[in-house]
Subunit: 533 residues, 2 copies
């Protein structure tokens, strides 16, 4: 903000800092308190004085207060902010010029906490190691495991900030604001706050809303007084990442009802419009995220992201990320594959491999013989044996992986139906189904519908928006009203706890078939009743 | 503040911290933002949960916001706050129970910064050593001398807090608030902020109003989130200590006009009432504070604090602080002594020793011969040669000390008259003259009037209020409205700069006689025109 103050003299002995504050208050014209951050007072006063009491003040807008953190004689052309998606497995961030929204750099890094546990539960386990071992602990006890996880995530963020700063050709110290979006557990681990009760009934986190901290309170190596805005969360399993997603999707600003689906470690689903929002979360993701299926992997180089099997000549077409030799299969590839296995009748409606011996169609029987191998633990489907490359690194889908996949898709559909039923609507009432995350970016909704994972709707209803958690954090940095919007979203959300929901369990059972026990729900999907049951 | 919240359950998954905040906001009923301090979140959440979501929250009232810093199941009987007078030579502090105002402990400690300079100017000199030596310094330069002085004062405060905590039988960590009153330079040195311009025309400090800091930002070893309230100052030579004094005196609440005189390293004077305040400061103190007169010393054990010379038999009566052997003479003793020397005509109206050889009264001539010794640099008066104690440690007053004393008293009277003249009033219009500080506690206003240091008024007009700087800090701790009163005081004060005031210089010249060149101003003081001039 540009500001000019009268020069001091013997008859105007207002102190430098007070002079700046008075001039700024006059200019801002609101009655929010305004202070100069203690840590910046020396530099601000010196710069203000040397600039001849005129120039540009750098202010943190903390909603309820203004804090001056810098002063320059000349108008700055770049003010850098960092948006961060604090994912359980990966951190993804962008550096933005807050003056015009330009993206200065972007990048991601693996969450180094993975060394202490791949998923949220094992991280909470590690963060509460000591407290679980000992009954009596001092009142001000802080678990060393928690400290360790906090230090690791802070280091990872510092490393990512450093990388992006190099790419943008700036100093990390000139990153003047940070907006962080992450699930509730990641938020607790980042702030070093006890996550013990997050995974214990009745699943009450220590906090949902964090006060705005300064980066130096967290040992972040960006500007020491950079405000750290944490996206608020709604509950233990409904974190700031999804609030960020809702913000990015714009659903809370639309008068027509939409649905947002974000599949990460959990499937998180929101339904609503500008008047109301209802949300729930459930474990529908694992089979899709890699790590569950033996050949499953995250979307990364070598992951099969697309599979098709020709319905007549049974030729298999696969595509890998980075166009390199396949080493595994990611969520979208898995959905494509299982949908193709169903449509080519390799599997029955229960998701079980059919016995090639019972197949009467000669072409299909030949294909089955070639690709369906019977091993100790049952049949498995060889997607590729990499024989063309002269290696033996085959990518296969075992029955156990198929079963996990069916459970995941059933959970997903059960979540969606439970939620829409809760408000007395039908899927056909939806203006849009927004699919967020890597899942949303890569999957083919048609194949997900074939499996009965997503409702059978015109493809135009589905829209992918990428990493909505990061997009929301960017919005908060660039748009001062977005923080208020987050508060509105949080306060208008009704949270539906599925872990104890009877209806969900019933709907889950009904959805454990392809596409469903009630095929009338999926009119566009062929139903092969004769196979299985 | 007592607070009870509903217990959480599966259908009320509000986080612990958010639950407490909601309950407190409801209870407080104002719309100031309320947060739980990040550093206290773990402990507060744990205590709140373990207390069954009911108990007593400890809140910092930061005027523009509430910050929760603790939670207890049972109602606390003591909440400790510390009031601190950050003097240039001494630190004085009290521990108070904020619930009922009870004084839990009090004490003082020498300001260890004295090792780096006895007065403010030499401290500023030390704090700017490096920056004065080098022309070109990096923009973010912080002078090591300033850091040194900050560390020293923080250590002294920590030591004093420790001492008082032991006396009150509490932990220093349970000191939950600190109010600090000190002159502008001490405030800068305490916060480690550059005092360079304080002593350079046009005497603009870096800050007058400090934001409320947390004790951990200053490395104070009290409760880490204890708010540190700094009394605001008005200018380089008019600090928070005097704002504190004005607050403690109650003059800004009185409809009748009063005058407040605080003599420390500087003489600081305020005139006014609830409608207006005018203030000025000048160097009138040094001769009174010890360190200038060769035998001068601060009021402490062995300091002669009272002197009388019988007008007929010339017997000298002295009293020392602590009733021990005299080792020097403090301000009040000096005023008594010089007044007595004048009344017994040992000195003339210019404050010069009279030559015993010219004295005609035999009794006086004998006394003069015994006590007025002629040395290399002129006469000196022997107050006591300690001969009764068998030692040779005499306490004497040399002509050079007398001259300094006359300058000081002239400066004081010139300050007072310049100020009262500025508003078109006369001393007789004053309801009260409040005299603060050790000076006010010990001096005899009658003797100060004899010297022409204080105006010739009925003794009932004078009131001593002791360490008003400390009293004001206590008031700020105990009374939430006192901080607003301070702001009102600061904004209603007109500051009169004497360093460039012509009228002051003229009045100063006129006041360099005992009692004055115009003896009609002091009708109650005998005037010995024949002596001198």
């Amino acid at each position: 903000m540009q500001v000019t103050a009268a020069e001091p003299g013997l008859h105007d002995n207002t102190a430098d800092i007070d002079r700046l504050q008075q001039a700024l208050k006059m200019k801002l014209g609101d009655n929010r308190p305004l202070t100069v951050a203690y840590e910046c007072m020396t530099l601000v006063a010196r710069a203000f004085r040397e600039a001849g009491y005129t120039g540009y003040a750098l202010l943190n807008n903390l909603d309820t207060a203004w804090v001056v953190v810098g002063f320059t004689a000349k108008k700055p052309s770049v003010i850098v902010g960092m948006a961060l998606d604090l994912g359980t497995t990966h951190l993804e961030a962008t550096l933005l010029n807050l003056l015009d929204g330009e993206v200065l750099a972007e990048g991601n890094l693996e969450n180094a906490q993975i060394a202490f546990g791949a998923d949220i539960l094992s991280r909470i386990h590690h963060a509460t190691t000591k407290r679980r071992q000992q009954k009596k602990l001092p009142f001000d006890f802080q678990d060393p495991g928690l400290d360790e996880l906090q230090q690791v995530i802070v280091s990872t963020i510092n490393e990512l900030a450093e990388t992006l700063a190099v790419r943008a050709d700036i100093e990390t110290g000139s990153i003047l604001a940070l907006a962080v979006s992450g699930n509730t557990t990641m938020a607790h681990l980042f702030l070093g706050l006890d996550p013990f009760h997050i995974c214990r009934e009745p699943y009450i986190p220590l906090f949902n809303r964090s006060p705005t901290l300064n980066s130096n309170q967290l040992n972040l190596r960006i500007h020491p007084m950079a405000p750290v805005w944490m996206m608020p969360s709604v509950g233990s399993y409904f974190g700031g990442d999804l609030i960020s997603g809702i913000l990015a999707s714009g659903m809370a600003q639309s008068s027509k009802t939409r649905m947002l689906i974000d599949v990460g470690t959990n499937a998180e689903v929101v339904l609503g419009n500008s008047d109301w929002l209802i949300a729930c979360a459930g474990a529908a993701g694992p089979a899709l995220e890699g790590g569950v299926a033996r050949m499953g992997m995250r979307a990364g180089p070598g992951a099969i992201e697309y599979v098709a099997i020709h319905p007549e000549n049974y030729l298999i077409d696969i595509r890998t990320i980075g166009d390199v030799d396949p080493v595994g299969i990611c969520g979208s590839g898995l959905i494509d594959l299982v949908a193709a296995l169903y449509l080519t009748r390799m599997i029955d409606i229960r998701g079980k491999y059919r016995d090639p011996a019972t197949e009467k169609d000669p072409a299909r029987a030949a294909f089955m013989k070639e690709h369906l191998l019977e091993r100790d633990d049952g049949f498995c489907f060889v997607v590729t044996d990499n024989s063309t490359k002269g290696t033996k690194d085959e990518v296969v889908l075992e029955q156990i992986d198929l079963d996990a996949m069916i459970r995941s898709k059933a959970a997903m559909y059960a979540i969606l139906t439970t939620l829409i039923n809760q408000v007395g609507l039908d899927f056909s009432d939806l203006e849009e189904i927004t699919v967020a995350g890597a899942f949303g970016r890569h999957i083919n909704p048609q194949h997900a519908m074939t499996l009965g994972m997503l409702p059978d709707l015109p493809l135009t209803v589905y829209r992918a928006i990428g990493n909505s958690s990061l997009r929301g954090a960017e919005k908060v940095l660039l748009d001062e009203t977005a923080r208020n919007d987050c508060e509105k979203i949080v306060s208008s959300i009704t949270y539906l706890e599925l872990n104890v929901n009877q209806e969900f369990m019933i709907r889950f059972s009904g959805a454990r078939f392809i596409p469903h026990t009630d095929p009338s729900l999926f009119p566009s999907v062929p139903f092969f009743k004769t196979d299985g049951i």
